[in-house]
Amino acid sequence: MLLFAFAVPIFADTSDTVVVTATPAFISISVTPATYDIGGSGATLLPNTTYYANPGNETTAPSATVQASECAFTIDNTSTVDIDITVNFPHFTGGDAMQNSGGGYTVNGVSDFGVSGYVTGDTWTDDAFTFANSGSGVFIDALSAASIKFGWALLTQSDDWDSGTAMTSTVSIAAALDV
């Protein structure tokens, strides 16, 4: 009787069975450079001004068709599968602590900045992609096992600085399996 009681779960109705299936891909990326100064090394930023992650030309917009040389960053996808890249650009801390407007590089305000990304080959400005404080959508879809360069355009807050001291934001580049 005891044996029967414990045998029952083994043959239980499978409608109560949770099915877990894993796709064993390996997800791996690197981004260079990791350190970056908006506006260029040692630059003092102006309010209500657009700065581009465009090496050596930080106040110059990329070409109508974005060139690799106009992109400050390189993502290497070393995964075994295609991946989606999402980029979150959080609010700054320290100094004037600019907040991300979430509206992209054309939308700033009092204490608010806006930022959008672009990749090599994009049509500027049509393909500008908004980087949000959190919960951004997919910036690069189905990136294969290769490198791609990207940059951003950042419009600083509309009002004058109060503190005049440095502020920082840590930009998150996330990789996930393309589905």
Binding site: V20, A25, S30, Y36, S172, A176
Partner: protein, 159 residues
């Protein structure tokens, strides 16, 4: 006889505890060129026939390609975009998560599994299909631009 009964009792308890989860995985070895990289696996975990009161679990594997011990963070994340047909997980799901070790320190070149489980309360509700991410980040990164790697969990509720 008494020992046999106790043994069968233990086996019965073990099997009854496992009876609510069926796990499928296709084994795969990481390519050698990833030895010096940080990687995670799997890329996606699909949970089917989930229901209030149920538990689903699967380990995430993390490899530390760095040459020194490295601390990682493992965290629940609501994705900004989801697979077609799925909704972002309700924020309450964060409270349903069990992460065996949310801040593991891996030795250089170490590969380690960390168990992830989601346990839905009996009285909870969720969309028919929902998605969350388990994000893994090397927290020794110091630059303005930092990377993280995410495993997608796609959950489909039973009818």
């Amino acid at each position: 006889m008494k020992k046999i009964i106790i043994l069968l009792l233990a086996v019965g308890l073990l099997l009854s505890g496992c009876g609510q989860t069926s796990t499928t995985v296709e084994p795969l070895e990481p390519p050698p060129e990833l030895y010096d990289k940080i990687w995670i696996s799997p890329g996606k975990v699909e949970v089917g026939n989930f229901f209030p009161g149920a538990r689903a679990e699967y380990p995430i594997t993390i490899h530390n390609g760095n040459d020194e011990p490295t601390e990682f963070s493992i965290a629940f994340q609501v994705p900004g975009s989801t697979a077609e047909g799925y909704e972002p997980a309700p924020s309450a799901v964060e409270g349903w998560m069990i992460i065996e070790d949310p801040s593991p320190v891996l030795e250089a070149k170490e590969t380690r599994e960390v168990l992830i489980a989601v346990v839905m309360p009996e009285d909870a509700e969720a969309p028919a299909k929902w998605e969350f991410w388990i994000a893994v980040k090397d927290i020794t990164q110091t630059g303005m631009v930092q990377t993280e790697l995410a495993c997608r969990w796609l959950v489909e509720m039973s009818d």
